[in-house]
Symmetry: C2
Subunit: 531 residues, 2 copies
Amino acid sequence: MKLNGTSIIGGARALAGERKFRAFNPVADRALEPDYFSATPEDVERAARLAAAAFENYAHVSVQRRRDFLHDLAARLEQAGPAIVERANWETALPVPRLQSELGRTCFQLRLYADLAAEGAWLDARIDHADPQRQPVPKPDVRSMLRPLGPVAVFGASNFPLAYSVAGGDTASALAAGNPVIVKAHPAHPGTSELVGLTVQQAVKHAGLPEGVFSLLFDGGTEIGTALVSHPLVKAVGFTGSRRGGRALMDLAAARPEPIPVYAEMGSVNPVFILPEAMEQRGGEIAAGLHASVTLGVGQFCTNPGLVFTLSGAATDRFLLRLAALIAHTAPGPMLTPGICRNYGLGVARLAQTGGVSALARGETGPTGCSGGAALFRATAHSFAADNSLMEEVFGPATVAIECGSREELLAAARSLEGQLTASVHGTEADLAAHRELLAILETKAGRLVFNGFPTGVEVCPAMVHGGPYPATSDGRSTSVGGRALARFARPVAYQNFPDAALPDELKESNPLGLWRLVDGRLAQPATTAG
Amino acid sequence: MKLNGTSIIGGARALAGERKFRAFNPVADRALEPDYFSATPEDVERAARLAAAAFENYAHVSVQRRRDFLHDLAARLEQAGPAIVERANWETALPVPRLQSELGRTCFQLRLYADLAAEGAWLDARIDHADPQRQPVPKPDVRSMLRPLGPVAVFGASNFPLAYSVAGGDTASALAAGNPVIVKAHPAHPGTSELVGLTVQQAVKHAGLPEGVFSLLFDGGTEIGTALVSHPLVKAVGFTGSRRGGRALMDLAAARPEPIPVYAEMGSVNPVFILPEAMEQRGGEIAAGLHASVTLGVGQFCTNPGLVFTLSGAATDRFLLRLAALIAHTAPGPMLTPGICRNYGLGVARLAQTGGVSALARGETGPTGCSGGAALFRATAHSFAADNSLMEEVFGPATVAIECGSREELLAAARSLEGQLTASVHGTEADLAAHRELLAILETKAGRLVFNGFPTGVEVCPAMVHGGPYPATSDGRSTSVGGRALARFARPVAYQNFPDAALPDELKESNPLGLWRLVDGRLAQPATTAG
């Protein structure tokens, strides 16, 4: 597939517009060909109209066809894998093995969500039978299930050029749930986006689906994203990125004549709590694990642990010495973009200048302008309580150890936390028994609690929650990873007293699709899949 | 129970403030004693702090205790029923039998949601077991379930002084899901609110729950509601009322430093479509049913049918004549408040003056200023397409028949509709087969589709959807009635690699609560309730 730099609008390509930009290779420190042409408002209009037109059909294609489409897309991505990974490596500086595994995850997600959609439990199909004899009024027959929302705008993420970008988790779950998708490509990896976008375009065509099921728009600025989120035919938004960017989209969506849901995953500082007995018994091991988690992928994960809470003592001193030594000997790594690297440098400088914060260790610095060196800081719980800025995410391989003088200081610090994607606790059974209150607090702060582990690495499985209260996400009632991701892009619809023939197959009395359904308030197992 | 007119804050009463108001008896045309004292910002602060303090406990009480609390509350409301119904009758002019049945529904809802909460399927408990041998990295043990959000602000509705007010559906579902509730009473029925509020206060005390689980604030204006929705400790909002009021709360919640979900049910015009063969065969019967639905409760339902779409022809002419005769002979009824009656009068006058709209019939007018007389208007699909104002709800016993010249005009009208709570279709099997596209369109417009019936009357059952795309509600992904109502006030939380003893009972390996759970992607039936 040859790159031509223009947006993909349904089955066609947009014209080359006036505004253009290029990808940048952070390792070679130079821009990459070809030119990418920012889409125009007319392109947004065309993509939105095509998506709305496609919705009437796509929302009603059989679950089997939708499943086949997404499986075929995964197979095509695997086939195009080497070219995609090569280009992504140039554009993001992420290592090839990491990109290969990310491509694998991307395809796994597409297949998982396709299978979940076809299996159909996520539809929450419900049937309450009529009772014509009921007094004082007859009881109607009421059946309901989730139906797709309509065209979804998805914003690609800089740090997951595959798994949270053009055919990533948001796209996969929105498509699996029956919604057309319009992707706004992240400008840091337009070539990767184009290669993946062309693959999706081919899969749509191969499946015989309406072309408007998928479009991909490029933009070096914010104009096209704004136009997309403001467009009356767009019914939901998926975004992974900065808090500033996410909040801007939330505000835009909330101010529309018809407000729409925004699922923005905006990162967090992912606090790690190390309880005293665990610190005493395994401090060195925890330091090694934490160091690996902080520096993984040059710290460029939304689950990167940016705050570590400890209780003062000799074991904690030893732990910090060990962690400092590991950080100091960390080789620098190229970051995703010059902008991310610049912001990381500013964030580290801000921490270094914050009152009550001392620098414990700095990792090695690198040869190019895009290198991010690891950093470890230390502050007291008192300083943490006094300065909210310590709660702000520094995107990169930096972490701040907060030393608490007492259990009460530790609890107060936990209570003061904003919403988080994750919170981790290291402890023995005795630690846990003595800190039940800490767990109860963290449960109100985070989408995922990790025990004796680290937050990086988000397992894609039915039970996973990758979400959390604001500002970790725009909507703590949802998750962008796991089985519940599909339901974000759907709403319940009830059918009252419908003749069987006019009902969707999912709700027909004979259960032709063999779904789990809630019948008269009881979960009923489909006969065809019993056992 | 004696009325004293002050807000209920946890286990205590607020002081009598400076601002005060009184209830009004629309039939007797006079204000009712006692004075009601508007709460103060300090009262909001106290109620919010008590609620937040209660949350840590209430979110973790056993499901059995929460269930017992809500069942006890229902029993207490039944016991206090005669006094509550008498006061509600004075304050709202709703007939005693209607209020008795509404009290029954209120208690039914409390028990249903309590039982659903205890049964626990709504928690969506999921378990994915670990696989330590998996390559390249071990698979963690991940378990997740829904957890409550925190203090919920509930706004009482004018037209359901019991079932959608102090202990109504929003309060019942929020409490059942584990959230403390702060109710802002509707100023049109403060005495009813106080009686119900005192009953809730007693039930909280009897159950030994923290007092902050429930508070009730009075206000004759909007200041207290604004303060509640703006309060950082309030985590969600339930509202039933006007579009203007609902949108104001949505905007307020979206602009908070920490935006929170708002579930506002803002009414709709509930279009009814009558297809040609049904019109031919049952036009008279449909006219009688429609008339009953339009005039039920003096038209004061959010499911009142305000638009009727027909195809031109002799059968439609006969139908309209019959409907006009029924409307003309409709006795007037007292409306809930002078304000609602005034707005109804203005709405009817606006319709009468709208270009292309002709008045077909006016019901009898009443003796007092609070009487609402029925009204029937007629317009062409052309006029409907030309004037958006015909889509605006007129709250009261009025409806507009839109005559379409062709199937295409009917579809175009359906396509132009805003989001609705309901859409109804009258048709024969042949009609349905010929109008599949109409159903597909309506499915994208409404939360509930009714076949050969009328939208008034919302069955409280697991499958019910009382919701719909904006502007029918603030959040079309939810329903304020039915089994899914609980999940509105909850969010998923995952527990990774937790020792069994530290897990919530719902997620422990032995399934001590006997819940349905999704285990390794498969629904697993609890052993204790098998069969």
